[in-house]
């Protein structure tokens, strides 16, 4: 394909560097732009008219805007994993090697088969899909399949994102959003007052609309004035300046999200560091100086490429040195757009006509164009554009003074560009995010920011102030005030007001929908929301159908649903609705503005917290040993816990889970095993009221627990349901150590603090988390004492002297240790605690000491099997937040006669807790000894009953026990405790039905003899 020349590029004068040639591709075609271009300006320079196809009707669409408001020029940028869908060409800075392609149009944007749908567009009124595709019912999924084919704009990449993103938590006294004249003045005043100031702007450079202005400020061009101003701002050390940074959301308590694009404007090879950075800004005061959007004029076929916003035409000419056409018709209802005629003329192009809807405007602007000999058609409107892929002519007709009817004959004026201006709409988006309700202002014919609940103010065009001198003044005042209110300066501006050349404007006309010779439902489509193909007619149809709220109109027609969120046409749509209902704009109101102001990258919102940093991984002090031993790990909360330690099989390969667990369990029962139990939560509790306090928290009593002793306890929530369990040790007078479950540690501490601090502040008790301080190695098995004896000679290990549920201080492997004789396996066990810096040392010393006994490290899986053989519960596995101690057959742990009604006690007396058919904790012995019932299997009495079956409970824990030589399970079953010996069934998804007998939950050593081996 041949390279298109930059046929629309003007020579010099603009802010682009015409020598800095940049190569890029569009739809695979190589093109050139210049440094300073956006993709949009470069495409226009290259004479590209059609940049996409509309999604419903497949109509050809061209560039209409120059910034965040652009609805049509939606591009896929880049390729492969670093491709980005849906960028607006008007916001993409050109860089060497940029690849771009339109997102819609098949087989191509220039020839789109979907556009045939245009002929059928009358069959697609708003909401047509609700009215059809219903019969026959089963075909809907097929219809939907085809509807979905048409869905979407660009494509999501399919590969992993090669870029990284980060975040900064920023704190500012004054945050200024928008660096146009108002924002620049505000930042300068606030910085001068000494406040910590940030100023951000979404564009590549500061200056806002001044970058495209031909006004003179302080005897300089606006553009030169901006450069000077920016240089001055750079001298403030307390001012942070962020270009390419979009404030996308204004949240509560002056929290603002800002997305900085750090390398999107660089070619792939030049980009380093994070691609985008999210600034999470907490500001004392915010100055909004976000400017205004020019409103479109809605007339028939106003979507043909070559219909553009007047200010955008000026911007392309003045800022980018591009004239997107040659013969322009300017269509306006206000004075500001006359500047575009002057700019176009200045670019050496032809202004065919100025069509002004106002019957008799006058003033400086009119005089200026007339002086240049331009034809001005007053009281007229462009009622229709004609052309296919580019405007060929404008149909112009006189209209009445209210702007509601065509009152004369239609003229056809040949042109290739129609520049339009329907007035201005303040960019009140951010202000509205705070919940401030927009206020309609007849004087500016627009919505102004409402009264805000946040510490902010709006200045400049976003507040409806359009004169440059007033923007300056308002900005300066806002900056000085914001600084003052956050504690800096007097609140009065210090800098003199820059003198500007400006003139008075004649009042605009409110013209939201341009009349046609036919009414809107019949006229050629008059587009309000181009991205979603919403027309004036479709809004009127929706009203006729009974949708009267603006919110219903939005949802029925999809007005403002697009990636531009209706920045261009929303106000027109509201006005069309207001007119159809015969009510005022104020009564009609707006839809709700929500973040994001412009679309914001998921990856940037996620930041660095992905991959291994998604959530902290917690390790114990022995972790490296486990790794070296090839342990498999289980995620328990944030912890990585050894799950099992597979060994190489003699026969080759590595042990399976079952093989490893069988071996580990047998080792514990027959000799000795070692478990890393460091993850258990531990809370040190001190103070005169400690025993009373924990007696209130647990179901049993600790008032008589002597130093040196431990006790197992269960904690309930006030609803009577089991919430945590563990052992509590009395360390001394008024001093206890509480163990919690691994997952429960933080919750239990907060729970204790809650009661102490808010309910019983007079109870003298302090809590300190010592979970991380201690490393715990548990040695368990008949040889446990022998192993311990090898590394400990200052504790009397005699089984009488150091009894079950006792603890002792001593020295283990040369380290001061605290040893508990408690057991979760049913075997003789010692839990040895040392400060965690010695954790690995202790572990290795025990492994060495146990060598003679073939000491076997075991993981959580074996630990679960061993405790299940003993019928010990695991809170969260065997209980689910709906189980009481009685349900778990643990009435023995509930002290009935404590003076204080412990937490949860009263709930145990509620009628439902006393119901006899509650689920109760029992054992299950599969009739076939090799059937390991799946955990989560449901239990029924009669497996032949029809569905829905009457479910009696479920399997909570289930294993094969190498010790018992058969599979076994724990379950909760309705009335289970009184059903011992009955056979129940587990119907499984694969069709199997496994039978099991209800037995005691204690499968092993019910007398507890193993605890006390010599």
């Amino acid at each position: 394909m041949t390279q298109i020349q930059q046929i629309n590029r003007l020579a010099g004068g603009a802010r682009v560097d015409s020598d800095g040639v940049i190569n890029f591709t569009y739809n695979g075609r190589p093109m050139q732009g210049v440094s300073g271009d956006t993709l949009a300006s470069a495409l226009l320079a290259n004479g590209v008219d059609v940049v996409g196809r509309s999604f419903k009707y497949g109509r050809a669409r061209g560039i209409v805007g120059h910034g965040a408001e652009e609805p049509n020029a939606i591009m896929q940028i880049g390729s492969g994993a670093s491709s980005v869908p849906n960028l607006k060409a008007t916001q993409v800075e050109l860089y060497e090697g940029l690849e771009s392609a339109p997102v819609n149009g098949w087989p191509s944007v220039d020839f789109d088969l979907m556009s045939i749908a245009g002929f059928f567009s009358r069959l697609m009124p708003p909401g047509f899909y609700y009215k059809t595709f219903m019969y026959p019912a089963k075909l809907w999924m097929t219809y939907e399949h085809f509807i979905r084919r048409a869905a979407g704009l660009g494509r999501s990449p399919v590969g992993d994102d090669p870029d990284s993103y980060d975040k900064l938590n920023q704190h500012a006294d004054v945050l200024v959003i928008g660096a146009g004249p108002a924002g620049l003045m505000a930042a300068r005043e606030a910085a001068r007052a000494g406040a910590r100031v940030m100023i951000v702007d979404e564009q590549s450079e500061f200056g806002g609309s001044l970058l495209a202005s031909t006004q003179t400020i302080e005897n300089r061009s606006a553009s030169a004035w901006v450069d000077l101003m920016v240089a001055e701002l750079k001298t403030f050390a307390n001012l942070q300046m962020l270009p390419r940074s979009t404030a996308f959301g204004y949240y509560d308590h002056n929290f603002i999200g800002i997305l900085e694009r750090r390398s999107d404007h660089l070619s792939l090879s030049a980009a380093t560091g994070s691609r985008q950075r999210l600034h999470r800004v907490r500001a004392k005061r915010v100055v909004l100086a976000t400017g205004a959007f020019e409103r479109p004029l809605v007339f028939a076929h106003n979507d043909i490429p070559g219909v553009m916003q007047a200010s955008s035409v000026s911007t392309y000419v003045n800022r980018y040195g591009v004239a997107p056409g040659s013969r322009m018709v300017l269509f306006t209802c206000n004075d500001s757009a006359y500047q575009t005629a002057l700019d176009w003329h200045g670019a050496g192009r032809t202004v065919v006509a100025i069509v002004d809807s106002r019957a008799e405007p006058n003033g400086a602007m009119l005089a200026a164009v007339e002086a240049l000999g331009m034809e001005v058609m007053l009281g007229c409107a462009v009622i229709e554009a004609q052309g296919g892929k580019r405007v060929k002519r404008a149909l112009v007709a006189p209209i009445n003074a209210q702007g509601t009817e065509v009152v004369g004959s239609v003229q056809r004026i040949a042109c290739d560009l129609i520049a339009c201006s329907g007035g201005w709409s303040p960019a009140i988006h951010l202000s509205s995010h705070t919940g401030a309700k927009p206020q309609w202002d007849e004087a500016i014919v627009g919505f102004k920011p409402g009264t805000s609940t946040q510490q902010e103010c709006s200045a400049g065009a976003c507040a409806g102030t359009y004169r440059l001198s007033e923007c300056f003044a308002e900005g300066a005042q806002a900056g000085a005030q914001a600084a003052h209110k956050s504690g800096f300066g007097s609140g009065v501006g210090l800098f003199p007001q820059p003198p500007v050349e400006e003139h008075d404007e004649y009042p605009q006309q409110a013209l939201f929908l341009v009349p046609h010779t036919q009414r809107s439902t019949r006229a050629p489509s008059q587009f309000v929301d181009m991205q979603l193909d919403v027309t004036a007619g479709s809004i009127e149809i929706a009203v006729r159908e009974g949708f009267e709220s603006i919110e219903h109109i939005k949802r029925y027609t999809a007005l403002g649903f697009g990636t531009d969120q209706g920045k261009l046409g929303n106000i027109n749509g509201m006005a069309i609705l207001a007119k159809a209902l015969g009510q005022s704009m104020a009564e009609t109101g707006t839809t709700i503005f929500r973040p994001a102001y412009t679309p914001t990258t998921f990856g940037a919102i996620a930041g660095r917290d992905i991959g291994e940093l998604f959530d902290p991984q917690r390790h114990t002090a022995m972790h490296r040993w486990h790794l070296a031993r090839g342990a498999e790990f289980e995620d328990v909360g944030q912890w990585k816990r050894p799950w099992y330690y597979p060994r190489s099989r003699a026969s080759g390969g590595v042990e399976s889970l079952r093989e490893a667990v069988d071996r580990e369990c047998l080792a514990v029962r027959n000799s000795v095993g070692i478990l890393d139990a460091s993850t258990l939560g531990k809370i040190d509790i001190q103070g005169p009221d400690t025993a009373e306090f924990i007696t209130r928290m647990y179901t049993n009593s600790y008032l008589k627990l002597a130093p040196g002793k431990c006790r197992y306890g269960v904690m309930l929530k006030e609803d009577g349901m089991i919430f945590d369990d563990g052992v509590c040790a009395c360390l001394g007078d008024n001093h206890y150590l509480m163990y919690t479950t691994t997952g429960g540690a933080a919750g239990v501490l907060a729970w204790l603090e809650l009661w102490q601090q808010t309910e019983w502040p007079d109870m003298q008790v302090y809590f300190t988390s010592v979970t991380d301080h201690w490393s715990t190695a548990t040695i368990s098995g008949p040889n446990a004492r022998r192993v311990l004896a090898k590394v400990c000679d200052d504790i009397d290990l005699d089984r009488q002297a150091f009894g079950f549920m006792d603890w002792r201080d001593g020295t283990v492997a040369g380290v001061a240790a605290r040893v508990f004789r408690i057991s979760f396996t049913g075997e003789l066990s010692y839990e040895i605690n040392v400060p965690a810096h010695y954790g690995r040392h202790l572990w290795e010393a025990l492994i060495a000491a146990g060598e003679a006994f073939d000491i076997t490290p075991y993981g959580t899986e074996s630990m679960h099997v061993l405790r299940a053989e003993k019928g010990f519960i695991i809170v969260g596995q065997d209980t689910d937040g709906s189980m009481t101690p009685a349900d778990m057959n643990m009435d023995w742990v509930v002290a009935k006669n404590k003076t204080f009604s412990f937490i949860g006690k009263r709930s145990l007396q509620r009628s439902d807790a006393l119901r006899d058919q509650r689920k109760q904790f029992v054992g299950l012995k599969p009739l076939n000894p090799n059937d390991v019932l799946p955990e989560g299997a449901q239990v029924v009495f009669d497996p032949q009953q029809p569905i829905p079956m009457s479910m009696q409970g479920h399997v909570t824990s289930s294993y094969y026990s190498a010790n018992l030589g058969h599979a076994f399970a724990l379950a909760v079953i309705k009335g289970g405790i009184n059903r011992m010996g009955q056979v129940v069934h587990c119907p499984l998804a694969d069709g199997r039905i496994l039978a099991a007998e209800i037995v005691s939950s204690v499968f092993y050593d019910p007398e507890g003899a193993r605890q006390h081996v010599e």
């Binding site: 938590n169 380093t272 902290p616 010592v770 965690a836 810096h837 010695y838």
Partner: protein, 217 residues
């Protein structure tokens, strides 16, 4: 306790992965050498005690002063320090004492000097101190990346003390304090230390960041 017992610092696991010559990319190259603007260093292990008591009790305050030679910080967000001890405000009745003195002796002295309702808990095994040093820009940026807290108003610490805060650090938490030399110290929990080290290396990579350890394994 015998001297040949090996202690393992909380960051040891991280060293295992990163080794202490390891760094994260992005450091500038000058004279053929990578420059690092940020250094993450785990400080030697020492005594850590959590002290709870009544700041309104003069005897309690006097006892602390008598044993440690520094006043109990009662102003939120401050710490006091001497050559041997640093005492951080954690909450209205909650302090962290970090000390080079022997923990057992220290506890005994404190217990002897203090009376009434209080608690002294050895937490040394559960924590480690990470020193972060580097250029001011790099440090400020790193802190802004890592924590929600506004360190902007702090200034630098002086000899007798400075500012401290217990706050979020990435998805974990830390006590962050400023130092007279412009560096920062993080008191972090042992089991999160590895995560925090990884975070720091990643977040600091734009400046060049390396781990420096004394106890590499």
């Amino acid at each position: 306790m015998s001297n040949n017992i090996s202690m393992e610092t909380p960051l040891m696991h991280a060293y295992g992965n990163f080794s202490h010559h390891e760094y994260s990319a992005g450091g500038e190259i000058a004279f053929g050498e990578l420059l690092f603007d940020l250094v993450v260093k785990e400080m030697p292990l020492c005594s850590h005690l959590n002290i709870r008591g009544d700041a309104g009790d003069d005897a309690f305050c006097a006892g602390i002063l008598q044993v440690l030679g520094i006043a109990l910080p009662t102003q939120p967000g401050h710490y006091h320090t001497s050559r041997t001890h640093s005492l951080y405000w954690l909450g209205p009745d909650d302090w962290l004492l970090v000390s080079r003195a022997d923990s057992i002796d220290l506890q005994a002295q404190l217990r002897a000097a203090l009376s009434g309702h209080l608690s002294i808990v050895d937490v040394a095994g559960g924590q480690t101190i990470i020193n972060l040093r580097g250029s001011a820009v790099a440090l400020n940026t790193l802190l802004k990346k890592s924590s929600l807290y506004d360190f902007g108003g702090w200034g630098t610490a002086v000899e007798g003390g400075g500012r401290c805060v217990q706050t979020t650090f990435a998805k974990a938490s830390a006590v962050v304090a400023n130092r007279p030399d412009g560096s920062y110290e993080l008191v972090v929990r042992r089991t999160f230390a590895d995560y925090i080290a990884r975070w720091l290396l990643d977040a600091g990579s734009e400046f060049g960041c390396r781990i420096e350890g004394e106890l590499g394994a």
